[in-house]
């Protein structure tokens, strides 16, 4: 289908991209295009200018920050994430996610930044980033700012990015030796979209010291504080984890539709939360 009339720009630096976003009221960032091009075809969005950030070198970098966090440029594609030795070593669950999304063609183009900024309720990365305590580095006319992933997702397809801002990178805090990550999904098919997702970051040395659990596939990813509190201080037994998971579902508020009722999605989210914590506490 023919796209609406528009101007295409390919800035070479983040500064140039920010200037372009500022110069045109109705400009939009183009990353992997694996959602945006469909939105353009369907006339859901009407930008005058597309600012293609997919080749900006600094947005394509993966590197460690001085504090040990792993910085992943917003324009890193899923397959690059999966192949990166740095990501595989420091955040294996994140790397695995890059190799299990959609299909090879979409993985070759889709970006972590696009996935986050789209804020589709069913997207893979938002619940993971909330569980990991990721920070998002944002660039705008007034410089750089950082914001927590928990708090970035305001509503379906709505984020804390202000007009004229772009996502520069995702910062994943280093995992301590006793911290592990779990991620579980009830998928409709292999590597497919989902009815319920849960991710957990657990610190455990025989006893659970700290836990962050987030559910996905509701309007926005949500932390499960009651479940987290119930886990702390317990030995990671199947019974203790199941008892804590029974408290999950807080603020989840999933839709009910032709694919599944809201009640079913909530039940399945609880199962995913339990499995995610088990995965994060199993001895490897």
């Amino acid at each position: 289908m023919l796209l609406p009339s528009l101007a295409y720009e390919r800035p070479e630096t983040v500064e140039e991209a920010v200037a372009l976003l500022r110069a045109t009221r109705n400009a939009r960032v183009l990353a992997g295009g694996q959602t945006l091009l469909n939105a353009l075809k369907l006339r859901i969005v009407h930008p005058d200018v597309l600012v293609d950030v997919s080749r900006i070198p600094s947005l394509r970098e993966i590197a460690h920050e001085p504090d040990g966090a792993l910085r992943i440029g917003a324009a890193v594609t899923y397959d690059e994430l999966a192949a990166s030795p740095l990501v595989r070593a420091a955040h294996p669950v994140t790397a695995a996610m890059g190799s299990r999304l959609v299909d090879r063609q979409v993985r070759a183009r889709g970006t972590i930044g696009g996935n986050v900024c789209l804020a589709d309720p069913t997207s893979n990365f938002p619940p993971l980033l909330v569980a990991l305590g990721a920070r998002l580095r944002v660039r705008g006319a007034r410089g750089a700012r950082e914001t927590d992933a928990d708090g970035f997702f305001l509503a379906p397809y709505m984020t804390a990015l202000a007009p004229g801002e772009l996502l520069d990178s995702v910062l994943l805090p280093a995992l301590a030796a006793d911290q592990r990550v779990g991620y579980e999904t009830l998928q409709v098919g292999t590597d497919s979209w989902a009815l319920a997702r849960a991710s957990a970051l657990v610190r455990c040395n025989g006893t659970i010291r700290e836990a962050r659990v987030a559910l996905g596939c509701g309007p926005v990813p949500v932390r499960q504080r009651a479940m987290e509190r119930a886990l702390v201080g317990r030995a990671p037994t199947a019974a203790a984890i199941a008892a804590a998971a029974a408290l999950a579902g807080e603020g989840f508020d999933p839709p009910g539709d032709v694919h599944a009722s809201a009640a079913y999605r909530t039940k399945m989210a609880i199962v995913m939360a339990r499995r995610a914590v088990r995965a994060a506490t199993e001895e490897s």
Binding site: Y8, G33, Q34, R104, Q105, V106, A108, D191
Partner: protein, 161 residues
């Protein structure tokens, strides 16, 4: 806002090309209408079916899901590049014939390009990896079994199985 236009340079099946494209032109339209290479098909036009799959810089991508201008500086391979007119089909094309991996043929160019990239990128290819690797390509006729067999056959012949 008027359309922008862009001078691009790329290689198409190994041959250098220069073109001037509107910013809003999809790569698949550039391939079919500007280059006249009609082997690349349009099925869903929404990133779901894979009929439009081509290879850009060694990776299979859906050409309805990127802009022509984004292929600037890249190496583009289409199904026409697998074997030229009057040439014998290449090993993958021959395997598709041998295993009856096509019926109506609509999905075939996309399947061939996905499988080409898959075979070229892998050092080893299990049955599961072949199935998963072709997930982005929908076939409404064959039931996939013969397509997977054809790719397995080539993987074995190339020492990847």
């Amino acid at each position: 806002m008027p359309d922008s236009v862009h001078a691009i340079e790329l290689t198409v099946n190994g041959e250098p090309h220069e073109a001037v494209v509107p910013g809003r032109q999809l790569l698949v339209h550039f391939i079919r209408d500007t280059l006249g290479l009609r082997g690349t098909h349009i099925g869903c036009d929404s990133g779901n079916c894979g009929a439009c799959t081509v290879i850009v810089d060694g990776k299979a991508v859906k050409s309805c899901m990127q802009l022509a201008v984004q292929a600037d500086g890249r190496a583009l391979e289409t199904v026409e590049g697998l074997s030229g007119p009057g040439e014998e089909p290449n090993d993958l094309q021959a395997a598709f014939t041998r295993h009856h991996a096509l019926q109506c043929g609509y999905c075939t160019p996309g399947m061939l390009m996905s499988a080409t990239a898959l075979l070229e990128q892998a050092e080893e290819l299990s049955l599961d990896e072949i199935r998963r690797g072709l997930k982005g390509n929908i076939c409404r006729c064959t039931g996939y079994v013969n397509i997977v067999r054809a790719v397995e056959d080539v993987a074995a012949r190339r020492g990847l199985a």
